[in-house]
C-alpha cells in the first residue's frame, strides 16, 4: 500500500538525522519539482533567446517591454492559480478583462470621471462580477466550468453592448501610466534611475532580513534548518539576481508601474496563501474537500471569496490592458483565460487541485512571456508560436506526470 521505509516497530522516533547539503537540495528539488524545473527552464529560455537575438532580449528597453507586455497575463495567472488550487477553473477572465476595460472607457471617455475614481469603480465591478459567479458556484453548487463558461459569453456580450461595437478612446494620461508609466526620476543625475536603485537596495535588504529572521525563528523553535553554507549561497544568489535586475531596469526608465503592482500581488497573495488561515483552507479544500469540511473549513465562503478575488484581479488586468492599448475595445482579452490557465499549469498547478503556488504562476507566466517575446524578436510567425507554446505546455505537465510516476506513488 504505502512504500515508506519505517524503522522497526518498537524503535523510538529517530532523531532528525543531520543531512548533507546535497541530500537536502535533492529533497527540496523533488518536493517542488515542476516549479524548480520551470525555473531552470525559464533560465534556459532566457539564455537561449539572449544568444539567438544577439543580446536584444536582455537589453534594458526590451526587459521593460517584456514586463509591460505580460503584466496583465501575470496578474490573471496569479488569480487563476488560486482558483485552480481550490479545485476550480475560471473561463470567464478574458471576457471580464474586456468588460471592465469597456466600462472604464465608458466612465472616463464618455462621462469624464477622474481616472482614480474610474479605477476604483472598475475594480468594484470586477468584485461584483466575481461575486455573481462565486454565488452560483459556492452556494448554488453549479460546477465552476459551467458558471464561468456562461460568464465568458455573458461578459463578452455585455462588452459589445456597452461599447456598441465601437472602440472608445483616449484615456487620461494618469490612467495610461498604469500600463506604460515608470516610477518618476528623483534626485541628482547619476548614470542610473535613482528611485529604482533605492527600491533594489531595499528589496535586497528586505529579502536578506526575511531569510535571517526565518532562520533564527526556526532555530528558536528547535526545527532543523538548511546548512549554513547552503543558506549563504542561497542569499548570495538571491542578492546577485536582484542587483542584476535592478541595474538593468535602472539603466532604462526605471521600475515600470506594472511591475510594482505585480510584485505587490505576488508578495501579498503569496503571503496570504502561505500564512493566512484562508490560504491554508484553499489548499485543504483543493486537496480533499470532504476532509476539509469535516475539519471545520467553511467551504462555501472560501470558494465564494476565491472567485471575488479572481474578479478583482481580472478587473485590474482589464484596466492595465485597456491602459496599454489606450482604448476600450470589444475584442480585448480574447483567449487570455487560456494563457492564464496555461501559465498556472506550467507553473506547477495540478488539475485535481490542492497543489500550486502564486510564485509558480508567475514563473509559468514568465516562461510563456519570454517565449512570446523571444520568438517575436527572432521573427517566428504567430502560427509557429502557437504550436511551440502548445508543445511547451504539454511537455511541462507531461514531465511532471512522468516524474511523479517515477517517484513511485
Amino acid at each position: 500500500m504505502t512504500t515508506t521505509t519505517t524503522p522497526p516497530k518498537d524503535a523510538p522516533a529517530p532523531p532528525p538525522a543531520p543531512r548533507s547539503a546535497g541530500a537536502l537540495l535533492v529533497e527540496l528539488a523533488r518536493a517542488n519539482m515542476r516549479q524548480y524545473g520551470m525555473l531552470v527552464a525559464l533560465a534556459f529560455l532566457v539564455v537561449l533567446f539572449q544568444i539567438w537575438t544577439d543580446g536584444t532580449l536582455l537589453l534594458p528597453s526590451n526587459v521593460s517591454n517584456l514586463i509591460q507586455q505580460n503584466g496583465y497575463i501575470l496578474i490573471l495567472a496569479i488569480g487563476m492559480m488560486i482558483v485552480i488550487v481550490a479545485g476550480h477553473i475560471d473561463l470567464s477572465v478574458g471576457s471580464l478583462v474586456a468588460f471592465v476595460g469597456a466600462m472604464s472607457a465608458v466612465m472616463m471617455v464618455k462621462h469624464d470621471l477622474p481616472w482614480v475614481l474610474a479605477l476604483v469603480l472598475s475594480l468594484l465591478i470586477g468584485a461584483v462580477a466575481g461575486a455573481w459567479q462565486g454565488f452560483f458556484i459556492a452556494y448554488v453548487g453549479i460546477p465552476s466550468f459551467i458558471v464561468t463558461l456562461a460568464g465568458m459569453l455573458l461578459f463578452r456580450g455585455l462588452t459589445q453592448i456597452v461599447l456598441e461595437g465601437q472602440s472608445l478612446s483616449p484615456f487620461p494620461d494618469g490612467f495610461q501610466n498604469i500600463a506604460k508609466g515608470f516610477i518618476p526620476e528623483m534626485g541628482p543625475y547619476t548614470q542610473y534611475h535613482n528611485p529604482t536603485l533605492v527600491i533594489g537596495a531595499a528589496t535586497v535588504a528586505f529579502l536578506l532580513f526575511r531569510e535571517w529572521r526565518h532562520r533564527r525563528r526556526q532555530l528558536a523553535h528547535g526545527l532543523d534548518v538548511t546548512p549554513a553554507g547552503l543558506w549563504a549561497a542561497k542569499c548570495v544568489a538571491m542578492t546577485a539576481a536582484v542587483v542584476a535586475f535592478t541595474l538593468t531596469l535602472a539603466s532604462f526608465h526605471g521600475v515600470p508601474v506594472v511591475l510594482l503592482i505585480m510584485c505587490g500581488l505576488l508578495i501579498g497573495l503569496g503571503y496570504v496563501m502561505r500564512n493566512a488561515v484562508i490560504g491554508r483552507h484553499v489548499y485543504a479544500l483543493g486537496g480533499n474537500k470532504a476532509a476539509a469540511k469535516l475539519s471545520g473549513v467553511k467551504d462555501r465562503r472560501v470558494t465564494f471569496l476565491i472567485f471575488v478575488n479572481m474578479g478583482v484581479l481580472a478587473a485590474l488586468a482589464g484596466c492595465v490592458y485597456a491602459a496599454r492599448l489606450n482604448a476600450g475595445t470589444p475584442q480585448a482579452g480574447l483567449n487570455f483565460e487560456l494563457e492564464a490557465i496555461a501559465a498556472s499549469f506550467i507553473g506547477g498547478a495540478s488539475m485535481s487541485g490542492g497543489v500550486g503556488t502564486v510564485m509558480g504562476a508567475v514563473i509559468g507566466g514568465l516562461v510563456l512571456g519570454v517565449l512570446n517575446n523571444g520568438m517575436s524578436l527572432v521573427n517566428i510567425g504567430t502560427d509557429y508560436q502557437q504550436v511551440i507554446k502548445g508543445l511547451v505546455l504539454l511537455a511541462a505537465v507531461g514531465f511532471d506526470v512522468w516524474n511523479k510516476r517515477k517517484a513511485g506513488r
Binding site: 500500500m1 504505502t2 512504500t3 515508506t4 519505517t6 524503522p7 516497530k9 518498537d10 523510538p12 522516533a13 529517530p14 532528525p16 538525522a17 518536493a31 525563528r217 526556526q218 528558536a220 523553535h221 528547535g222 526545527l223 532543523d224 502561505r274 500564512n275 493566512a276 488561515v277 484562508i278 491554508r280 483552507h281 489548499y283 485543504a284 486537496g287 480533499n288 470532504a290 476532509a291 476539509a292 469540511k293 469535516l294 475539519s295 471545520g296 473549513v297 467553511k298 495540478s350 490542492g354 497543489v355 506513488r409
Partner: protein
C-alpha cells in the same frame, strides 16, 4: 440434494502486513442456500472476492472446485462465464440507464455491433417476471427504490445463466417488506436449482432461508452447521449457537491498564445526546438513526457496538455538524449546556471532535504534509503576532514536531507527505489533529481499522491517556474485544436504534452480540 457444487479448500489470502484468510474451507451443495457469518473483518467479503475472481487466481493459495472441476478465475468475467455471479453490497447499477440496459450492460444483445432493442426488451421483460418485478424494462433505474434495484441486480445475474449467486449483505439497505420479497425470491430460485451464498449479519434471515451456515472468525473457518434437516423443514439451529461460533475466542489483544481521571468534575456529564433522529440523505422515508439518547461523562470511555449498517457512523456524523443525513429531531449538550451542532465549525466550537472511520476520504489531505494536516482545525488559534487570520508557521511546525514525537509518528520530518505514511501513522496524524483542537468530547470511529497490532496498542494508549486527562471518549468499534478491553460502558445499536447499555462488568461478547442482532419484532 446431491454432491457439492462449490468447494473452496485451504484458501489463504494475504495483503501486505495482514493475513485476511488463512486456510478457509467452504463447501456449498447443489441447490443449497448457504450462509456465511462472521464479525466485521472476519474475512467474508475477501472470501467472496477470491471466489468471484476480483482477487485473481495466483494472488491466493488454495483450490477452488466448481461443479466438480478445478477452476482458476483471472477476473470477474471469467467467474461469470462459469455462472458464478456476485451482487455487491453497493449496487452496481447505472442510475440513468433503463432497467433493460442495466440488465444487459457489458453483455448487450447485439447484432453486428448494433443493439437489438426488440430482443433486449423481450428478454428483460421475461427476467423481470421471473424475479417478480412489475416494472417496464424501459424505466430508468434511478426511478426505482433500493428494494426494486436489488431485484434488477438479481435479474441481471439471471441473464448471465447464473449457477451460483453470491449476495453480500443483500438486505442491509432494505426495509422489512423489501427484505421479505427478496428472501422469497432467493427461496424460489433455489427451487429452480440456483444455489446461493448469502453473507448476512441478520441471523433471523439466515434462519429463514439458509440450509447451512459457515462461520468465519479472524480469517479462519470455525465451523459449518446445518440450519435445517430438509429444505422445507423448520430451522433447528438457534441464533445463540451461531453467535457462539462468531465470537468464541479469547481476548488475544492486550490493552493498557486504565488510568482513572481524578479531577474534581469526574463523572460530570460531558456529552448528552437526546432523542436523536436522522433520516437517510436521499431516501427520506428511511430512518437511519431512530430516537437515540446517550450520555458520556468526563474521563469516561464509552463504546458503541453494532454491526454494519446499525447506524453508528451515521449517528456520530450527524451529531458532528450534521455531516450526514437529514436532521429530524434531537438535542446535544456538552458539559450540561445545550449547544448547536448545526455546522462542523459550530460542533468544533462546542468542544466536539470526530475522528472518521475513513481517514483517506474524510480525514486527511493525502497530498499535503503532516504539518499542515495536523494544524488544519487549529489554524485560527495559531496567530502570528496576535493578528487574526494569520498563521504563525513556525509555531505550527513546532506543534507538529511535538506530536510527531509524542505520538510516535514514524516519518523523518513533519514535511513528509501524509499519503506516503502507513495506515497506523496516518491514523496518528488524524488523532493529533483533533487532540490539538482540544475538544471536551472525542468521537472515535473505528480508530484502529486497517492498522497493525503494534500501532493498535499505541492508539489504545492514546485513548486511555485522553480519558485520564478528563476528556470524554465515545468509541465506535466493530471489534468487540477492543470495546471490552477499553470501555467503561458499551451501548449497542441495531437498525438505527439503541438496543442495550452494558457496563464493563456485565459485558461479554455473547451479551453484546445478542443486543447487536436484536431486531424489531
Amino acid at each position: 440434494m446431491s454432491g457439492p457444487v462449490l468447494e473452496m479448500r485451504g484458501i489463504t489470502k494475504t495483503f501486505p502486513g495482514v493475513t485476511a484468510l488463512s486456510g478457509v474451507h467452504l463447501t456449498v451443495r447443489a441447490g443449497e442456500v448457504h450462509a456465511v457469518c462472521g464479525e466485521n473483518g472476519a474475512g467474508k467479503s475477501t472470501l467472496m472476492k477470491v471466489l468471484s475472481g476480483v482477487h485473481p487466481h495466483g494472488s491466493y493459495d488454495g483450490e477452488i472446485r466448481f461443479e466438480g472441476a478445478p477452476v482458476a478465475f483471472k477476473d470477474i468475467r471469467a467467474s461469470e462465464r462459469h455462472g458464478i455471479v456476485i451482487i455487491h453490497q453497493e449496487l452496481a447499477l447505472v442510475p440513468h440507464l433503463s432497467i433493460a440496459e442495466n440488465i444487459f450492460l457489458g453483455n448487450e444483445r447485439a447484432r453486428r455491433g448494433f443493439v437489438d432493442w426488440d430482443d433486449t426488451l423481450r428478454r428483460a421483460g421475461a427476467l423481470l417476471r421471473r424475479v417478480g418485478l412489475r416494472e417496464r424494462p424501459t424505466t430508468p433505474v434511478a426511478d426505482l427504490g433500493v428494494g426494486k434495484q436489488q431485484l434488477v441486480e438479481i435479474a441481471k445475474a439471471l441473464s448471465k445463466e447464473v449457477r451460483l449467486l453470491i449476495l453480500d449483505e443483500p438486505t442491509a439497505a432494505l426495509n422489512d417488506e423489501d427484505s421479505a420479497t427478496l428472501l422469497d425470491l432467493i427461496l424460489e430460485l433455489r427451487a429452480q436449482g440456483v444455489a446461493a451464498v448469502i453473507i448476512s449479519h441478520k441471523l433471523n434471515e439466515i434462519r429463514r432461508v439458509a440450509d447451512a451456515v459457515t462461520v468465519l472468525r479472524d480469517g479462519r473457518t470455525v465451523e459449518t452447521l446445518p440450519v435445517r434437516a430438509s429444505p422445507d423443514a423448520e430451522p433447528e439451529l438457534s441464533e445463540d449457537r451461531i453467535i457462539r461460533g462468531m465470537v468464541g475466542r479469547d481476548l488475544d489483544h492486550r490493552f493498557p491498564a486504565r488510568t482513572p481521571y481524578t479531577g474534581a468534575d469526574a463523572g460530570a456529564d460531558a456529552l448528552t445526546v437526546r432523542d436523536w433522529t436522522v433520516r437517510h440523505p436521499v431516501d427520506h422515508q428511511r430512518t437511519v438513526v431512530d430516537d437515540v439518547s446517550l450520555t458520556v461523562r468526563r474521563g469516561e470511555i464509552v463504546g458503541v457496538a453494532g454491526l454494519m449498517g446499525a447506524g453508528r457512523t451515521e449517528l456520530a456524523m450527524s451529531v458532528f455538524g450534521r455531516s450526514y443525513g437529514q436532521y429530524v429531531a434531537g438535542t446535544v449538550a456538552v458539559g450540561g449546556r445545550e449547544v448547536s451542532t448545526r455546522t462542523v465549525p459550530a460542533a468544533v466550537a462546542a468542544g466536539i471532535a470526530y475522528v472518521t472511520e475513513d481517514r483517506k476520504r474524510y480525514g486527511l489531505n493525502l497530498i499535503d504534509d503532516i504539518n499542515r494536516n495536523i494544524s488544519l482545525t487549529s489554524l485560527p488559534g495559531m496567530r502570528r503576532r496576535g493578528v487574526p487570520g494569520l498563521v504563525d508557521a513556525d509555531h505550527e511546525r513546532s506543534v507538529a514536531e511535538r506530536y510527531r514525537r509524542t505520538m510516535n509518528i514514524k516519518a523523518p520530518t513533519v514535511l513528509e507527505q501524509v499519503g506516503r505514511l502507513s495506515g497506523g501513522n496516518q491514523q496518528k496524524v488524524v488523532l493529533s489533529k483533533w487532540i490539538h483542537a482540544d475538544p471536551e468530547v472525542l468521537i472515535l470511529d473505528e480508530p484502529t481499522r486497517g492498522i497493525d497490532v503494534g500501532a493498535k496498542y499505541e492508539i489504545y494508549t492514546v485513548i486511555d491517556r485522553l480519558a485520564a486527562q478528563g476528556k470524554a471518549v465515545l468509541l465506535i468499534s466493530s471489534e468487540l474485544p477492543e470495546l471490552l478491553g477499553l470501555c467503561d460502558r458499551i451501548y449497542t445499536m441495531a437498525e438505527g436504534r439503541l438496543t442495550g447499555e452494558v457496563t464493563r462488568a456485565e459485558a461479554t461478547q455473547e451479551v453484546l452480540m445478542r443486543h447487536m442482532t436484536a431486531h424489531r419484532s
